[in-house]
């Protein structure tokens, strides 16, 4: 990261930049190629205006206390790749041998000062202050004066580094990076303006670049308006919000899934309709219906009769080449439309599945359950008062459960375990048996139906109605058997809710797969032998299944939700209002979608029905949900469930449908009398014929060659498979390696924590065994002693005194280094903490006096705080008399002030002081300094030593 160091300064473009020019001007700095050179005027100025420089510290302190969020440079840099300044500044300053300042800037967590430069940019200090504080968590307000310049530099560097980094990016990335900066809008805008100004001012401005700038701007605006339009087209925004507000995001995920499937279907409908149906309709728009077939109404349910002669099914598509404006080969169009649609579906599914896995599964961890429940599980989208109340209740119940869980788990005896295992086994056997039984019974039912059906052009009403038997039974099975499964589930004792849901889902999937498998087998093997136009028959069966599935979904929500609501509220209040069963409902959707996929070959317009079905279903479910259901009691890990569902949709269901369609196209003989592929041995032959036709066209030899040697050659697929397997293996190994690395890194974090604790203990012991140490310099010792002695109270304030003593000594040392830096004056009101700063400043000044450095008191800052007043007194007194009495007064005042502050801030100051003290000593190559300690101050010392430890580490890194 230090590689970014001060690029802004060495970059000539930086000095040309208009915006940055403003910065430099307003911070009263001339051009400076050397950041350190720029510090001098400022420091002198600060020293001159001794009193007015107090105010900015108030301000800074307030900023600090107001926005003490955490902003970690390191971790965020990893995420965004935006380098930030402080470390690089440090490096740079080392170069210029401004060691002292650099160290201060590095380790002194001084609050940031609202500089004129930042004011000019209309920047607030929220973020930058945070950045500083995060880097140097131990804030010592007393050191403000010493480090202002360094900080100012840091901030400028930081900003410039960021700006440089952003300028280097492409426009798109830059906008993304700016958006993702964790700052307020004003700050982002400031950065953005800087970046724009920077990038708009190239070294040699040409008309072309101006144009490209304009073009990129208009492109961006165009992109925004496209996004805007897309949002306008977004369906059901308001309803989604309402559902999310009332039921939380887990229930909402069902509706999101439904919407996603709806989009899938709209897409497939558009493709099929556009490439298959419309050309046919344009060519020949009257359906080829025999004269004795009329529309009777029952077709809507059965899909047979009149419908079988319309473009609804495979059978009525022509195999001719349509001659119009252009020649349109229906065979090819039909084949490629379906093929391309299936491939696109597969790709879309794989991508969404992969991204979902990446997001939700790779790092998901069950161990941190309480932490998750407390900090991550609150659903901010819930806006309904009742829902909020219920959630809070549920959460407290869950937390109580998880507290008592530990005891329960150990109580399981062997016999209980055996019993549980028996129950699992029994219910698995039972549910698998049920699934197989259902499959078998449906197969026999189909055979029975096939014996009764005839291959006539028109059926009687009764015959037509009889075809409804199979879809009715199938849908009934789909409705009823899952209820049994839920019942089994009640008897089983799963250790976690997740397992329970997974078991339930798995059983339902097995049931549906067995039913669909049986049906497909029947369609593939029995129907072709008995019907002249068997593809249309399959299409009709699928149509009926889709329609009946829809009715049963409605019935399901009536029985499942409405009735149990009525029972729960009126008859058996013990049952309570039902919850919306996301898992069951999503499985129903997946099943419905599978039907549509299988049907796409046999009935190209089935997606239209599906669209209508999902559309109605959305409103139906919404009404049923809001009327009948209550928000879920358990806030499960919805995102992972959703990944599972997408996976299920892909793996058994989509892959099943795809292989069924592919089998049909490769293996089965299309019917002789109807459909686009009549007269071919199998559907795929259409490609071969097309290639044969291509041979005669000159210039298309390459296509023929590809077909002969790539598409039709086994060796190609063999090599391809091999290649993919190798790649998969490599990636597998890489991911295994990463997993190990993650484990190691985690271990490392834990170890570092242990190291820290160990060192802390050791320091504590060390300090106990050497309670009395001697200061390394006589003068310092004297001062320290004075302060310690002069302290009026013991206990807490004693440690305060120690802290103050440390601070004072630190400052003393810095004085000896001949550095006196003062702050920038900005008026501000006064809070307790700022009063403290004042007090410390005053003390510091007093010490400066005792060192023989004379400073003229300037104008007094009006202050309501007693501490501040004392400070003024103290300073005045200290101008009159050198020595200890003034200091004692100061220490007392500070101790009093400190009592109002939380202990943590005292600790922070102690650490800070200690750190700096250590830095000083390191610099002077003197062994560790001794401390004069009261016993009650020990914890402060530990903190300080710890801080020193850190400081050492960092310091060593600095080399």
């Amino acid at each position: 990261m230090t590689s970014y160091s001060n690029r802004g300064f060495f970059n000539p473009a930086y000095h040309d930049s208009e915006t940055l020019e403003i910065d430099k001007r307003s911070s009263s700095k001339p051009h400076h190629a050397n950041p350190y050179a720029g510090e001098d005027p400022y420091r002198n100025w600060g020293a001159r205006t001794e009193l007015t420089d107090q105010t900015p510290r108030y301000d800074a302190e307030q900023q600090r206390t107001a926005h003490r969020g955490g902003w970690q440079e390191e971790s965020w840099r990893g995420g965004e790749g935006i380098p930030m300044g402080p470390v690089s500044t440090h490096q740079h300053d080392l170069h210029y041998s401004t060691f002292q300042i650099a160290l201060d800037s590095q380790y002194d967590g001084s609050p940031s000062i609202p500089l004129p430069s930042s004011m000019s940019g209309n920047m607030t200090m929220r973020w930058r202050g945070l950045a500083m504080r995060r880097m140097f968590p131990n804030t010592d307000p007393a050191h403000v004066a010493f480090t202002e310049d360094a900080i100012r530099n840091q901030m400028e560097n930081e900003e410039q580094d960021r700006v440089n980094e952003l300028v280097a990016m492409s426009t798109r990335e830059r906008i993304r990076a700016i958006r993702e900066l964790p700052m307020s809008f004003e700050e982002k805008k400031h950065i953005r303006n800087q970046v724009q100004a920077f990038s708009r001012k190239p070294h040699h401005f040409t008309i072309f670049e101006g144009c490209s700038e304009n073009v990129s701007l208009s492109m961006r605006r165009c992109g925004y308006s496209v996004r805007s339009t897309r949002q306008t087209l977004e369906l059901w925004h308001g309803i989604m919000k309402e559902i999310g507000g009332k039921f939380g995001s887990s229930v909402l995920s069902y509706f999101v899934f439904l919407k996603w499937l709806l989009m899938f279907n709209i897409f497939s409908f558009l493709i099929n309709f556009g490439f298959i149906t419309i050309p046919l309709l344009v060519y020949n728009h009257t359906p080829n219906v025999p004269p004795n077939v009329n529309f009777r109404g029952l077709e809507i349910l059965t899909g047979a009769g009149y419908f079988s002669y319309t473009v609804m099914y495979y059978g009525s598509y022509s195999n001719e080449t349509l001659v119009g404006l252009v020649e349109y080969d229906m065979q090819l169009a039909y084949f490629f439309t379906i093929a391309v649609y299936m491939v696109l579906c597969g790709i879309a599914l794989i991508f969404s599945m992969a991204s979902s896995f990446k997001k939700n599964y790779t790092l998901a961890d069950l161990a941190s359950n309480s932490a998750w429940q407390l900090l991550c599980s609150w659903d901010f989208s819930v806006t309904n008062e009742r829902a909020v109340k219920q959630r809070t209740n549920n959460l407290s119940v869950q937390l109580k459960e998880s507290l008592s869980e530990k005891g329960q788990r150990e109580l399981l005896t062997l016999s209980e375990k055996v019993m549980h295992f028996g129950v699992y086994l029994g219910s698995w056997l039972l549910s698998t048996g049920l699934a197989v039984g259902c499959g078998a019974s449906i197969y026999y039912l189909c055979q029975y139906e096939q014996q009764r059906a005839t291959d006539a052009a028109s059926w009687s009403l009764l015959q037509e109605a009889e075809t409804l038997l199979v879809p009715f039974v199938v849908s009934l099975v789909n409705l009823v058997i899952p209820l049994f499964y839920s019942l089994f589930n009640k008897f089983e004792h799963y250790s976690s809710q997740r397992r329970q849901i997974y078991a339930l889902v798995l059983r339902n999937v097995i049931l549906r797969m067995s039913i669909l498998g049986v049906l497909c087998y029947y369609w593939m093997n029995v129907l072709p032998d008995n019907f002249s136009c068997w593809e249309s028959m399959v299409g009709q069966s699928l149509y009926r299944l889709v329609i009946f599935d829809f009715f049963f979904l409605m019935l399901g929500s009536f029985f499942g939700e409405f009735l149990s609501n009525v029972i729960g509220t009126r008859l058996l209040p013990g049952l309570g209002v039902p919850e919306f069963d996301v898992a069951r409902n999503v499985l129903e959707l997946i099943y419905a979608q599978t039907l549509a996929w299988i049907g796409i070959y046999f009935s190209p317009l089935l997606p239209a029905i599906q669209i209508l079905k999902f559309f109605i279903l959305f409103y139906l479910k919404k009404v049923s949900l809001t009327q009948n259901c209550q928000p879920p009691r358990r806030s499960g890990r919805a995102a992972q469930m959703q990944t599972i569902f997408i996976f299920l949709l892909f793996f058994p269901f989509f892959v099943g449908a795809l292989s069924m369609v592919a089998y049909t196209a490769w293996r089965l003989t299309p019917s002789e009398q109807c459909g686009p592929f009549r007269g071919l041995n199998n559907t795929f032959e259409v490609v071969g014929e097309w290639i044969d036709g291509l041979r005669e066209i000159p210039g298309s030899e390459w296509a023929v060659w590809i077909y002969q040697h790539v598409i039709r050659s086994e060796i190609f697929y063999f090599l391809l498979t091999l290649f993919i397997l190798v790649i998969i293996y490599i990636f597998w190994q890489v991911s295994q390696g990463r997993k190990e690395l993650i484990v190691l890194l985690r271990q490392q974090i834990v170890n570092e924590g242990k190291d820290k604790n160990f060192l802390r203990d050791k320091l504590q012991n060390l300090q106990k065994s050497h309670p009395e140490k001697h200061p390394k310099q006589k003068k310092q010792k004297g001062l320290t002693k004075q302060r310690s002695d002069g302290h009026p109270s013991g206990g807490q304030s004693n440690s305060n005194a120690m802290v103050q003593a440390l601070l004072a000594r630190q400052q003393l040392e810095e004085e000896e280094e001949g550095r006196s830096i003062e702050g920038v004056p900005v008026p501000s009101d006064i809070s307790t903490s700022s009063a403290l700063i004042q007090a410390m400043m005053a003390r510091q000044r007093a010490e400066t006096h005792s060192e023989g450095l004379y400073q003229t008191p300037g104008e007094h800052v009006s202050s309501s705080s007693t501490a501040a007043r004392q400070r003024v007194d103290g300073r005045e007194r200290s101008t009159d008399e050198y020595g200890s009495s003034a200091i004692r007064t100061r220490v007392r005042a500070e101790a009093e002030d400190l009592d109002y502050l939380p202990a943590s801030s005292i600790m922070m100051q102690a650490m800070d002081a200690r750190q700096q003290a250590e830095e000083e000593e390191r610099f002077q190559w003197v062994p560790a300094p001794p401390q004069n300690l009261a016993p009650s101050g020990s914890s402060a010392l530990i903190q300080a030593m710890l801080a020193r430890q850190q400081a050492q580490n960092e310091f060593d890194d600095g080399y």
Partner: protein, 187 residues
Amino acid sequence: MGNKQTIFTAQQLDAYQDCTFFTRKEILRLFYRYRDLAPQLVPLDYTNHPDVKLPYELIGSMPELKDNPFRQRIAEVFSEDGEGNMTLNDFLDMFSVLSEMAPRDLKAYYAFKIYDFNNDDFICKSDLEKTLNKLTRNELTEDEVRMVCEKVIDEADLDNDGRLSLEDFQHMIVRAPDFLSTFHIRI
């Protein structure tokens, strides 16, 4: 459309679109939401950057926030003054971070700030207790609160310093995929 143009200049809209996750339409929608909170205070013309701040009482009364146990914290974290009084920019900022488009790290950063009640850059035990009491409406006993907090720190504190730093928090968030969908307010 005509009067919409006069609320913001094209440059302002560009800046908003570049710096937040919203489109022009959403920005305008949010502006109207903001304005509806106090029509007499918020002018319809924002081209000259009027200095308008809505007090927390108004912001917290939005239907999106009014039942949220953390509403005050949210407003404090996102407001420039740290007291929950929001300018339009703060308002847009807030919903931008809470929108669907915001990346995980950004959300995690602000969530951390929301849970860090005492602004000390760490989620310590007192913060957790506050969070817990807000989430459960003080239904747990003191012992239970203490146990839960200990458990949380035990689980999530990687470096064993007895409190959660932003790194700890982010680490936890990475392993909790639901966070992205739950730290989300639709507008």
